[in-house]
């Protein structure tokens, strides 16, 4: 009996002493984000999928040894209304100091939180590759002191590229139908109104008449007055820019009021298959700008098919957000590539390898500019790519860019 107790004791000691050592072997990737919001929720799952795939192949090769990865996600709620930036920053510091994370992926929602967090990342030399916040001030800050802010990268679209894609969409509409009169409707938040203003300026300078620019407060649920104005002005295109949950109502009303104009822009809640389940044919004909391809399968670019299938197989659901998930998946891979190229976990060496990244990802070809912003273009073989799709009988048909397009724009029956 005594011997048995002694054996048990030594076995326990052995297990306890071995366990932390093996746990320490894992490289911890922090995900400080708003986990309850769709982009954070799906970004976390996409990163987790990449980690599982990499671990299944033995992990990250650093010199002669292989290390496994592990995700440490923390809901810092910075995308939720009323949560102060300081709280989000405390969460990031907690991950760095308590959990001893090596790098963060996905990251901040709000741009002001991202800009403030960049100082924390440089203080602790923690690599941060964000996939959600979109302010162009990010690159400006990196370039303002390259040595200090070199640890921060952004592997997703920024608002300048978004405006660029919208401009391409409008050119495409103009070339196909000869339209030149537009009505802009945006949510009254900084990113949306700034994008709207950029679009207004561009449209006016490119032969379009902007018949109205309406800003709706967050939570607005009746768009009939604006739609009547658009109809009275005889516009041919309505350009919406929204990410609030109630913005789907705009499209419902557009259809029920039979406003004779194309609806083409960005309405975040109508990006995924759940939108069709919720709104059905009410959203047929809507054109939406995809921030980064990859969240639904595009036959012309096979990595998107592979990723979508893997995500659905792992999580038993498909991706609903056109922003953040595919880049989060790519981010884990590009970080691992950089670590393996550097042959070390030394953040300075890994940053150098990240700067030299040139790899094929789900979102297209991944390369960073001098401000550590992912470079976007129109062909996934040469750059990361956004796209424009149109809801056509329940399918998300890509209508632009030509390199991956599978359909032409179809006008709804009540639009001449």
């Amino acid at each position: 009996m005594k011997r048995m107790v002694l054996c048990l004791f030594f076995a326990t000691v052995l297990i306890l002493s071995v366990y932390p050592a093996s746990a320490q072997q894992r490289i911890l990737l922090g995900i400080p984000t708003s986990l309850k919001l769709i982009e954070g929720y799906e970004g976390n799952k996409a990163a987790e999928l990449a980690v599982e795939e990499i671990n299944a192949k033995g992990g990250v090769k650093i010199g002669a040894e292989k290390r496994l990865l592990k995700i440490e996600a923390l809901d810092i709620r910075d995308g939720e209304p009323g949560v102060p930036t300081s709280e989000a920053l405390l969460g990031i510091e907690k991950l760095i100091l308590d959990k001893k994370i090596y790098a963060t992926v996905v990251g901040n929602f709000r741009s002001e939180a991202l800009l403030a967090a960049m100082d924390i990342y440089s203080k602790y030399k923690v690599i941060n590759i964000g996939t959600i916040a979109m302010t162009p001030k990010f690159q400006e800050k990196v370039l303002s002191d390259k040595e200090k802010y070199k640890y921060s990268f952004r592997n997703c679209l920024d608002s300048r590229y978004l405006a660029g894609y919208m401009q391409n969409m409008m050119k495409h509409i103009s070339s196909q139908f000869g339209y030149n009169k537009v009505f802009i409707a945006t949510q009254d938040v900084l990113w949306a109104t700034a994008t709207g203003s950029m679009m207004e300026k561009w449209l006016k300078g490119n032969g379009w008449t902007v018949a109205g620019f309406e800003k709706y407060p967050v939570g607005a649920s009746d768009f009939s007055a604006g739609l009547m104005k658009a109809k009275a002005a005889g516009v041919q295109v309505i350009l919406p820019i929204f990410d609030m949950p109630t913005s789907g109502i705009l499209v419902k009303q557009w259809k029920s009021m039979k406003i004779p104009a194309l609806m083409a822009g960005f309405i975040s809640p109508l990006m995924g298959t759940n939108a069709w389940k919720t709104f059905g044919e009410d959203i047929d004909g809507l054109m939406n700008v995809v921030f980064e391809i990859g969240y639904f399968p595009i036959k012309a670019y096979p990595p998107t098919v592979k990723f979508s299938e893997a995500y659905i197989k792992r999580w038993k659901e498909d991706i609903q957000s056109g922003h953040g998930a595919a880049p989060a998946y790519d981010t884990v891979y590009l970080l691992v590539n950089a670590i393996e190229k550097a042959g070390s976990l030394d953040p300075d060496k890994v940053v150098k390898a990240l700067e030299a990244t040139d790899m094929v990802g789900v979102v297209g070809r991944i390369k960073f500019d001098s401000g550590h912003q992912l470079i976007f273009g129109n062909d996934p073989k040469t750059a990361a790519v956004g796209a424009v799709f149109q809801w056509q009988k329940g399918k998300m048909a890509v209508v632009w860019p030509d390199s991956i397009a599978s359909a032409k724009i179809i006008k709804p029956s009540w639009v001449k």
Binding site: P81, S221, D222, S224, M228, T246, K277, T278
Partner: protein
């Protein structure tokens, strides 16, 4: 604008009737009204989507469950502080925040929460297409007001409601239990709120944040119309409804909620009892 102003007015009237009924009878300003509206939407959605119940049955069940829930709020919380106006406001506002934040916490976030319309399609009136659901709101609003009138004038419990509203102590001497009637009024007011949610929410999506807007709109209509006055509610709905539509058309949609708040301020400055708030008029003069 005429057509949509009319519809907006009907929406406001339907939205505010429950709040007005509870206040008119029990004197309780139910600041949890917006939260009850949102809960009703989510409950109906859950019954349809998770229990696979038919839409009509889900709607009826919601109206009953929410009515019981409202009555319980009165019995368990409000009854203990009844008559202490500030405490009633704090308590119901507290309940409202707890409900809404709880809904947010358990994950009722996003756009997927939407109720189906009764009949799909739209019809053209004066060169404007209007979806059929909006006509339902107008028709059901008229039926609801008529029903309420008949209920409060021709049923025993309805007469008890009016008795309590007119003079609580005298009613007590006639054998009417004010607590019981106030509890009923809270339950009925909540059921009306659920009814409003089921009729109005198919036009949009169910979101936690809309609870606060519903409360502001209901409050402004009732204050402008005169708390407790059904006809006041109808008149105020038209005033605020058209004011909001005109503001959204000629100024900006951003200012529509300001219209409601300004209406409250103006009426409180000019005629605190509201346009038809006869019950409080005497009190005001004193």
């Amino acid at each position: 604008m005429l057509v949509y102003g009319l519809i907006n007015s009907a929406v406001l009237a339907v939205m505010a009737l429950g709040f007005n009924l509870t206040f008119g009878i029990s004197g309780v300003a139910n600041f949890a009204y917006g939260a009850i509206y949102v809960v009703s939407g989510f409950l109906t959605w859950t019954l349809i989507n998770h229990l696979d119940l038919p839409y009509a049955l889900s709607a009826i069940l919601t109206i009953i469950i929410i009515g019981v829930f409202g009555g319980l709020i009165y019995k368990l919380i409000i009854r203990r502080i009844r008559g202490l106006v500030i405490s009633e406001v704090i308590a119901t506002l507290g309940i409202s925040i707890v409900i809404l934040e709880f809904l947010r916490y358990v994950g009722f976030i996003g756009f997927k929460y939407s109720l189906p319309v009764f009949i799909k399609g739209s019809v053209e009136i004066f060169d404007a297409y209007v979806d059929i659901q909006r006509f339902f709101i107008i028709v059901l609003g008229i039926l609801l007001i008529t029903g309420l009138y008949l209920f409060t004038h021709h049923t025993k419990i309805g007469l008890a409601f009016r008795g309590i509203a007119q003079e609580e102590h005298t009613s007590l001497s006639l054998g009417i239990n004010p607590d019981r009637i106030a509890s009923f009024s809270m339950g009925l007011g909540s059921s009306l709120c659920a009814f409003a949610a089921i009729v109005i929410l198919p036009l949009g999506t169910i979101t936690v944040d809309s609870g606060y807007d519903v409360l502001i709109n209901a409050l402004s209509v009732c204050i402008v119309g005169g708390l407790g006055s059904t006809f006041g509610v109808i008149i105020a709905s038209f005033i605020i409804g058209y004011a909001q539509t005109i503001t959204a058309t000629y100024l900006s949609p951003h200012w529509t909620i300001i219209v409601s708040l300004c209406a409250i301020l103006i009426i409180l400055a000019i005629k605190p009892s509201g346009l038809l708030g006869h019950q409080k008029e005497l009190e005001e003069r004193v």
